[in-house]
Symmetry: D2
Subunit: 160 residues, 4 copies
């Protein structure tokens, strides 16, 4: 069974809620998922999973400092995350507010770690975006994303 | 055998040369490679390969209009490239000249197509960058990139 | 009087409509505005204005090839656009669809030309985004953007 | 006299050194400059200057978490930085290592604050990049950048 860590930072609770929605859809795809608050994690934790998905509110066009901190610290294991599948999601106050650059700030960091990243052609392209509290739209985004992420993960890990 | 299309646009010949170096390293990894000038291609061509790598000179922080044109036209097949492995390379006049944003302009377009993208932890992270004409540094970048791309492609396509 | 060129590429007509809304608000701010279809322009045209705003549909996370073509050709005048004020707008099929990276593909090209760029703290941050056909939301975005652009332009050109 | 804050985060000392080189060139252009370690600053400090330049090492394609933290906290003053001139610089371990995306992570945050940003046509386009310890190349980048930043600042503030 392929495994995935969903790491989130959440102040209002919106991003945590998206994390949980995503987790439930990934579990339906038979992925072993652990959801963790980034404040309760250390970089060595990143080593234990086949996939890593990071979620952050949109803060000035990038991930929250709290999420960036664990990425900066993960330099200790540079090279050891290579080949893992990465993903990102964000919650944002409104449209045009920096959500895409926030997702890409996470995905680019993952590419630098040598990770693999996957896009979505028929939903939010760089990863699920929740405008304010998660709603039906968010749920649909997470469902489509979870399916694509799980399918890609299984291929990379040669499991079914 | 997994297959890959290397599509390039080249005015000075530098980008074409990188395309050929990359092709030779991919062939050593037992990937079936075709190298094509973007001016001699149509979007339907993109459908025929497991992997697609696009190379462009760094023009104002993005890929050349000639390369963007085929991406824009590929909307005709939106969804059909989903799951293919994508990659990018660029040749640039100098450091700090927009080469990273050029690579990301290609990789982001691929994510929007639902493609899979892979980064490199121990070489140019977003894809090979050649500063001026290809040299030993470029050769090394291509070698590392080709190995990682080929390994990821084989996993995605379940071939050895 | 400070002058500005609004250059657009439009297939459906949506982007052209945003160009015209933006033009009318800039004129209310006493800016001399010319609106042009990019297909009817050549790069030497860019030299004649204090400000340049470019608008493109969101195509695979970047500006349309037709807009990129004129940017690529403007290399002929590299350095001569330095210090001009630049801006961007886009029309997009939906949220999370690459509109931010499209705006940034234009703004980054302008920075490479040595141009000045301005953001918006209380509306679409990187420039106006129209989701589908322009509506009230688009109109409001253009109004706020035009005011900020005009104010900045007048300072840079030392006119009132 | 126009004023500028140079804020840096530095672990090895390289980024601090670039901060000081940049400060000395800005002072030659008759700008009142203060250089501060981000660890000794609070967001209210950002209010006191006409220009703000932020420098960070290149950490996984973005600014250091320590720099992002002050940006996140500056939300308290959202809107009050509007119209100030912003700039960025970075020090990076090597070419192709995420330095451009690091600079843009800072510049994009500044645009979201409604700040004004300026590019360079004849040097590192998005801001000075130092590869490893500052050398002659870095010095030249800082000199060109300081001149352009100072000239733009004086226009925006209507001082000479």
């Amino acid at each position: 069974m392929a495994s995935t860590l969903i790491l989130y930072y959440s102040k209002s609770g919106n991003t945590r809620e998206v994390a949980n929605i995503l987790a439930s859809y990934l579990r339906k795809e038979k992925v072993d998922v652990e959801v963790r608050d980034v404040l309760d994690t250390s970089p060595d934790f990143l080593l234990n999973y086949d996939g890593i998905i990071m979620g952050s509110p949109t803060y000035y066009g990038g991930m929250a400092a709290e999420m960036k901190e664990i990425i900066d610290k993960s330099v200790k294991y540079h090279g050891e995350l290579s080949g893992k599948l990465g993903g990102a999601f964000t919650s944002s106050a409104y449209i045009g507010g920096g959500n895409e650059t926030t997702l890409l700030s996470i995905l680019n960091a993952m590419l630098i770690h040598g990770m693999v990243v996957v896009g979505i052609h028929n939903a939010d392209h760089y990863g699920p975006v929740s405008i304010e509290a998660p709603d039906n739209r968010t749920d649909k985004q997470c469902k489509i994303y979870a399916k694509k992420f799980a399918d890609t993960l299984k291929l990379l890990k040669s499991v079914e």
